[in-house]
């Protein structure tokens, strides 16, 4: 669990830094002080929260905001399935552990052979959860304290993390095929589809690795 927390610590800085503008945006969209913090504590999925709140803030409907967020979070279906065999315990315990799944905690807990370390997931997830909620609180009550995280290049830290965690995965031909197909599908779909769809569609790329076995 500690190794997961340690691996996630540098990311927690970036996640917390993006929590601040989320709080600022949510307040300016008319959600008040409490609802944005409740959202970060219950939804705990950055991109979906940004999408939902910005749609509301620009006059979009409740339905449009919810659909956009659900599409963005649909990737947690396949992601949840991939870690399912690692999450043990009672129904309540499995539910709680599953709520700590975000892209980063999932990626950090991957052992590189298709299996996952439950305690690394929990350690990383809790660390990122605290950072995300704390960042949101700072944004809601403190306003723009840290400036734009884009100026610090923090948005590039996320793809860099995923790349660093992808490299040890692609030791086999089938994994390499799945990775190349996944990236190709995602890139091809970015221009024509709603955000979130490219990632879900990319999960079909695991068939590319499968059929070669």
């Amino acid at each position: 669990m500690r190794s997961g927390a340690r691996a996630a610590a540098p990311l927690a800085v970036a996640v917390g830094a993006f929590g601040v503008p989320f709080g600022v945006l949510a307040r300016s969209a008319g959600l008040g002080h409490v609802a944005p913090v409740v959202m970060s504590a219950t939804t705990f999925a950055g991109s979906a929260q940004f999408a939902a709140v910005s749609i509301l803030g620009t006059g979009g409907s409740v339905a449009a905001a919810v659909v956009a967020a659900v599409l963005l979070n649909a990737r947690y279906g396949p992601i949840g399935l991939s870690v399912a065999s690692a999450l043990r315990g009672s129904v309540a315990l499995r539910f709680l552990q599953s709520q700590l799944i975000v892209d980063e905690s999932w990626a950090v807990s991957s052992r590189g052979d298709g299996t996952f370390d439950r305690w690394r997931l929990v350690g990383a997830g809790l660390t990122l959860y605290c950072a995300w909620v704390a960042g949101t609180i700072a944004g809601v009550f403190g306003g723009d304290l840290i400036g734009d995280p884009m100026d610090l290049g923090l948005d590039a830290a996320f793809p860099a993390l995923f790349l660093a965690l992808l490299v040890p995965q692609v030791r086999t031909r089938s994994a390499l095929a799945a990775a190349l197909a996944g990236a190709a599908i995602a890139i091809a779909l970015v221009p024509g589809t709603r955000p979130g769809i490219p990632i879900i569609a990319a999960s079909a790329a695991c068939f590319a690795g499968w059929r070669r076995r």
């Binding site: 399912a84 499995r94 552990q97 599953s98 298709g114 793809p159």
Partner: protein
Amino acid sequence: MSSGWTVVLLVGLATMAIKSAGPLLAGGRALPPHLTGLVGALPAALLAALVATQTFGGDHELMLDERAAGVAVAAVAIVLRAPLLVVLVAAAAATAALRALS
């Protein structure tokens, strides 16, 4: 209930359901053998898709901007077997430096 709270409630419930579906239905036990290979390839496919969309993805379009340079610097750091923290800081620093210059 205000529209803000409605969205917070619905998105929260939907996300909890999506995140917990796999672990609740298939949690704690080994998958059937024919599915193991399939799910085993998911991390590679999804990680690659995340790298691609977060490096080049814009608002319904592909973009080549400072992030790509940051990720390229990260790739070099990964090849040189730099620690993860160094990889992340290098990517952010390169992206920030290019943004400051442009």
